[in-house]
Amino acid sequence: MKGRIKILVWMLGLAAWAGTAWAQEVVVIAHPSVPVDTISQAQLLNFYTGDVQSWDNKMQVVVYDLKVRTEVRDTFYDFLGKTSSRMRSIWLKRKLSGEGDPPESFETEEEVVAHVARTQGALGFVSATNVNGAVKILTEIPLADQ
């Protein structure tokens, strides 16, 4: 009995993964005006920590964040090699030292996509399913294997 349940659960899990494999991918999106078509992990980290605040063509970098800790958000920061709280502490320190504010954050991914689509030099991250043609996809991050 136990064995059968185990197999059933395992098969359901496999089906779910197969169905959402590409859809659950996290993508880094940018305003179409950014002067790059692809971006590395190091560049992303520099932009999100605030160490680098402009593109190569002097265009101001604007980064967006998700307000709530979701799977997408954790996957993104994992990709940067930082925990959520580590990023928050970096931002808090920047704010305390007067070097700048933390990225603007939104409740939903749709808001992120909308803001990236209408802001010059903007960067954001959402799940692949929420992407539309108004933004440029710079890189894809596979979801951390659950």
Binding site: R69, T83, S85, S89, W91, L92, K93, L96, S97, P102
Partner: protein, 558 residues
Amino acid sequence: MAFKDLKVGIKQGLGFGLILVVMTGVSVFAIVQMGALRQAIEDINQFWLERALVSARLNVNASALRTVQWQHALATNAAQRQVFADSMQTLIDEIYAGGDAYDELIEEVKAGPLFSEEEEQLSTDLEALWDEYLLHSTAFVDLRDREAVDFLDGAMGTIFDAFSTKLKRLVALNEASVEEAAGRAESTYRTTRNRIIVLLVITVLLSVGTAAALVRFVTVPVRGLVNAARKVADGDFSVHLGNPSRDEIGKLARSFDRMTQSLNTQQKALRTTNAELTEQKGELEQTLHRLRDTQAQLVLKEKMASLGQLTAGIAHEIKNPLNFVNNFSQLSVELADELVETLEQHREQPVGAVLGDVQEILRDLRFNAERIYEHGRRADGIVRGMLEHSRSGEGERRPTPVNALLDEYANLAYHGIRARQPNFNVTIERDYDEAVGEVSVVPQEMGRVLLNLLTNAFYAVHQKQLSDGAAYTPTVRMTTRTGNGTVQIAIGDNGPGIPQAVQEKIFEPFYTTKPTGSGNTGLGLSLSYEIVTQGHSGMLAVESEEGRGATFVITLPA
């Protein structure tokens, strides 16, 4: 097999082996327990203590951050706020440093038993709450005065309380783990110490037991043997070691018991034999005494017998001249009477008328006196000779003419036997070697020997004469010879001879073929043998053929 029956070496081996095994056990146990102790201490040092310290420091820093945030909220100007903002940054860095240190610590032990599910849950929760608190802190930085205080006390206060509670729980958890590990170490230490003490006590008891066993099974029996040996050495054979073990000492003890038993038996037997011997010795001494008395009497008797024979001979020797003395004396008396008568008849006549008769009578008287004197001297000579034989230095050797000695004793023996058997007759043949001369002997002793042999010879021929009658001529032959440094005296007879069986016993004391009651002792030949062989270092032998006589030969050193 009982322990006491094992060999001494095995006993010792078992005893010391047992001690060695227990000591080894104690050592191994101590080493293993020290390992456990070391592990517990290492757990404390390497994991629990560090984690407790780090989590405690995190708690302190978090409280400090909260305080600084209050100060920031209550600051009255920008400069003050900047000071507290700097402090906040420093504290955040320290909290992160602590967090990283804690993460590293738990990374090592996550898979093992040193990391509980509760701690994992607490870590996750703390991370989330800290994340949330930082988010609020970022918002808080922009707030001022009443708004800042309310926010800090309200939303942030709730999050911080939750964070602080969980952090304290983590600290408590780690402290409990430290205490638990320390308690475990302490308990391990106590258990180990107690068990080692117990094992050492057991080892000591075993050692004492082994020593006691060795003393009981080795030293005591050996001491028993030593004491027993000492007693035996002192002559006490009643020692018995009793039922011993089957080891070497036991074997020795059994052998010892057998030995003492055997000695005891032998000693008893010896004592009995000794007592019997003492008794027998007493009896033998008495018998010997009686025998000596008897022997003395017998020797005396033999001497008396010899004396009888001698006396007879001597009497005959003296009687002859005495007869002459008597006869001539009687004749002289008669002649004296005749002289007196003649003188009376011729009283009136002149002396010349009877002178012729008187002179004749006086001549006869003189002749008689001469004869009397002659025979008196002869008797005197015989007596003097006898005295000389009997008196002159008893047992003393002196040169003696052998042939004369032989003649003298032949004469004595002949007359001795003639005194008892008047019709006895014998032909005596003499075959003397004149070169024999004088030989150094004790004359009385050697005379006794010759008297014995001659008397026997005369007796033998007389016996044969009695049985054979007139056709038989009894003959005794006396021969002397010299040569090769010896002198031989042989006395042979033509009597009935001596049977071979008798010849073998002839020199034994008290052996005789003569009828009992004849005054014969059976000592004659044995005494003669003794005199010749021991008294004169000579030999006495007999040659005889039954029916043809016997010859006794004395051989003396010249």
